[in-house]
Subunit: 340 residues, 2 copies
């Protein structure tokens, strides 16, 4: 900047104003300065501004390692959207993959202790203990795609409840009266909320909830376990995620049960498993774009004003209709007397 100023015989203040398009410089001079800057290959020193402002213009994005494995591109996609929105605002996203060791050992990212970021977006459920640690950080933070009832940290989540409710409604409308839910209710808030949406649909249609039709799919550590099918098979399954729906379809098929003719199955997430499955899964697509945008906007407002609070923001999902749902078998028979 000084070099540019010297070459033009003006002060560095003027150059700064021109390059930032601020008032107080004639348009003519501004233009001259900008042209020369490009010519001289000038690159803005963001560090100097950070120093002055006390703001790094970086936001840390924390993703637990277990959500980054093979076949798990979802969070990477979300991260990508986040950075795009951040860049639109002159910010950068710095990805921090939280490994198990640090999560269990309650180690804060060096990003924090080195003052490298102005705030954190945590993308994906972390342990209760780590949530407490995150709370203790003296910067704005928010949770994305999960929340914790005991903390006051702002969060942006898919409207799991309503999406599961609507998806179950679809099954009911197709004549299903015996519908199972597949998922460990104590594992994540997503699974819980999706279950409650399923339950709301049952309630609304005066269908009893049968505890035998709530099927566990994973142990406490999130590892998938064999699904125990009930004695008397339901005609439809609401699965908490596509991967489990995929496993379930495989299991049913291997038992000689046809999907969707004999059993309908729906998933959640619209990830690779929804397409890998045979038949392809009817499922719910998360609105990644909207979630990323909301999280970034809220975060930047919090950076400006640390007292801003947004609470829990729900983003609606979209049902994707594919081939894993059909009318309930009994209904089919009733509807087609020709088959008698």
């Amino acid at each position: 900047m000084r070099d540019i100023a010297d070459r033009l015989g003006v002060s560095s203040v003027t150059v700064s104003k021109a390059l930032n398009d601020k008032d107080g410089v004639s348009d003519e001079l501004k233009e001259k300065i900008k042209v020369l800057a490009v010519e001289m290959g000038y690159r803005y020193n963001a560090t100097a501004r950070s120093m002055k402002e006390g703001l790094t213009h970086n936001i840390g994005v924390i993703i637990p390692e277990r959500f980054t494995g093979p076949t798990q591109s979802f969070y990477v996609r979300v991260f990508q959207r986040i950075t795009r929105h951040l860049e639109d605002q002159g910010y950068y996203g710095i990805l921090h993959i939280l490994n198990e060791e640090d999560e269990e050992g309650l180690t804060l990212p060096k990003l924090y202790s080195d003052n490298k970021v102005d705030g954190f977006i945590v993308l994906g459920q972390i342990s209760k203990e780590y949530i407490e640690l995150v709370r203790s950080m003296d910067v704005p933070k928010m949770f994305l795609d999960f929340y914790d009832e005991h903390s006051d940290i702002d969060s942006v989540v898919t409207d799991n409840f309503y999406a599961a409710y609507e998806l179950t409604n679809v099954l009911v409308q197709q004549g299903h009266r015996s519908i199972a839910y597949v998922g460990n209710l104590y594992s994540t808030s997503s699974i819980q909320d999706r279950f409650l949406g399923y339950y709301k649909s049952l309630l609304e249609h005066r269908m009893p909830m049968n505890p035998d039709l709530i099927l566990n799919d994973r142990d406490e550590r999130g590892t998938f376990i064999e699904i125990d099918l009930p004695e008397s098979l339901p005609t439809a399954f609401v699965c908490n995620c596509d991967q489990v729906a995929h496993l379930l379809v495989q299991k049913l098929t291997s038992l000689g049960i046809q999907v969707p003719q004999q059993c309908s199955v729906v998933g959640f997430d619209n990830d690779i498993y929804a397409l890998l499955s045979e038949p392809k899964l009817t499922t719910v697509e998360v609105d990644v774009e909207q979630m990323a945008r909301t999280a970034v906007q809220s975060m930047l407002k919090k950076v400006d004003n640390p007292n801003r609070n947004f609470g829990r923001v729900h983003v609606k999902g979209n049902i994707i209709y594919r081939d894993s749902v059909s009318a309930a078998p009994e209904t089919l028979e009733m509807q087609s007397p020709t088959s008698i």
Copy 2:
């Protein structure tokens, strides 16, 4: 720092030295300062140091968007290793996913124009035009997992040549004499080098190269195409990657050809497709850890001294033996006269 200094009645210089474990402060005072720092919740301001040093202690990692899709966790894993090694050296990795638009429009990352990083590691093949653009950047840069013959940019790559050579040798040792190579030789340097390793093995064993046995797998834009099998089927296939090997196995199986009994197939990468395949693929595992370590070390040396050059560094891969290879059919018959 000033606050700490004031509370202890010393200067901020002394505090700085103590916190950085430099000479010139008594051990006693150092200890006192460190304790107080923790007590006061002091967080180091990395920005200030950056300002002074003219170094951001950040390294940009550029991954082309097309390598981050579903089922492509490889580069994310590499990124994770890179950041781990960077952190060990007091550095941070900033991920920049290069979207197609920016790659075609030759837009440099804002990370560069904002002086946010001290160097770039490009992870995954980019277009020739973009390579030229990268060259024009006035910071240290290096390529990871690919290289370009026309540029003098340092690179770290898997030793594709030798790994493919060794893998082909394995097939030859199993009695195979008609071995195909599957891959578009004009697509990436990896595919080319793997082909040459395959060719070297043929040469060494005095086996003629049959052009009909070089099978294309993708078009210019990298989209997979249907593989055209030759009239007379070889007894083994060396595929340039696991995904293509997986597709090939599916195709062979659907044609009623048994793998590996009638045809052996080997892949490359040891990714999710190697395990998805039935039978599981014999393949080459890239030494991610070693590649990441080498890239980071070289990069940091270049940051210290921009004139340092490392050229092309090859990292050896490991063959993973699974179930997609068996002895050549004719050999089998010769070996087991009991079957007559």
